[in-house]
């Protein structure tokens, strides 16, 4: 296995989505290839840093406002649909 083969498998390796034999080959490559070891380690850190970051959080007041707007519009659309259904039933009757 060379470095380019290792890179191709990096995503599955980090996600634990590889079979035992491929994993053993990748581990063996990592044991002697310092560059791939660093790339693997820092890619893992990259994922963790983004996963733990709260880059775009919705503030509570805005959340409440948005939710209330959504619910009001859903109620309106529900009422409109029910009125339409009623009109069709009345017409049929």
């Amino acid at each position: 296995m060379n470095c380019s083969d290792f890179l191709k498998e990096l995503t599955d390796y980090l996600d634990g989505a590889i079979d035992a034999r491929t994993k053993a080959e990748l581990d063996e490559h990592l044991a002697w290839c310092h560059n791939c070891f660093v790339v693997c380690n820092t890619t893992k850190m990259t994922i963790e840093i983004y996963r733990d970051s709260e880059l775009y959080e919705l503030p509570d007041d805005l959340r409440t406002k948005l939710r209330s707007a959504i619910v009001t519009k859903c109620q309106q659309s529900h009422a409109d649909t029910s009125a339409k259904d009623q009109a069709i039933t009345d017409k049929k009757a």
Partner: protein
């Protein structure tokens, strides 16, 4: 631990299907509960795609309203959340197209980029790189870095690595094949790593 998690997930998905069924039958409080569960996720995804706060707020509203209006189409073959993410991604892309009509924005084209994904920076990072910066500085670095990715890479990375969707769910939500998701994820991860190395690499004098 894994078993407990699995059981919880199953219980969660049963409970979720019950909420969807109640919402379909006209119970708005059941739909409100679904909004409460996923509004933060939809907002984050929308903000990552549109890179604009007001647009992201609009996307949250539009995506949930569209989901509500189309609940009858949701057959339960996928998770409600995956179905919702697909709607949200489409709404966000439409916003982006309206805002930047001069640039075609699509996720299903293979993204060409000048920056290849072969690692050039192989210096190791400090043990706790994020501690070198204040929270505000770190946020700025992470935002700037991820915003620099092509949108097709960024969206795959956000769904897989930030929001925790599986490869299959990400493929379904984006209408991409599994190999396309894997290839974009690898390139996104490597490009982010490369760019973050500038800020996080070990400096002389750092403790080993």
């Amino acid at each position: 631990m894994a078993t407990i998690q699995k059981v919880n997930e199953q219980a969660g998905s049963t409970d979720e299907l019950a909420l969807v069924e109640s919402a379909k039958a006209g119970d708005i409080s059941a739909f409100e509960e679904l909004v409460r569960r996923y509004d933060r996720n939809v907002f984050r995804i929308a903000q990552h795609i549109t890179q604009n706060r007001e647009d992201a707020e609009d996307v949250v509203q539009d995506a949930f309203l569209k989901a509500y209006g189309n609940l009858a189409q949701f057959q339960g073959q996928s998770k409600f959340y995956t179905w919702l993410v697909r709607i949200a991604v489409n709404e966000a892309l439409m916003k982006l197209r309206r805002r930047r009509p001069e640039r075609t924005v699509s996720l299903d084209q293979d993204v060409e980029t000048d920056e290849d994904s072969i690692p050039r920076e192989v210096a190791d990072w400090s043990p706790n790189p994020e501690q070198q910066y204040s929270q505000a500085e770190l946020r700025d670095i992470l935002q700037k870095t991820i915003q620099g990715l092509p949108s097709g890479f960024r969206t795959v990375f956000v769904l897989r690595d930030v929001e925790g969707l599986s490869t299959e769910e990400t493929a379904e939500a984006l209408g991409l094949s599994i190999p396309a998701v894997k290839s974009r994820l690898l390139r996104a991860r490597l490009q982010l790593r490369e760019r973050l190395s500038k800020y996080f690499k070990r400096r002389n004098g750092d403790a080993k």
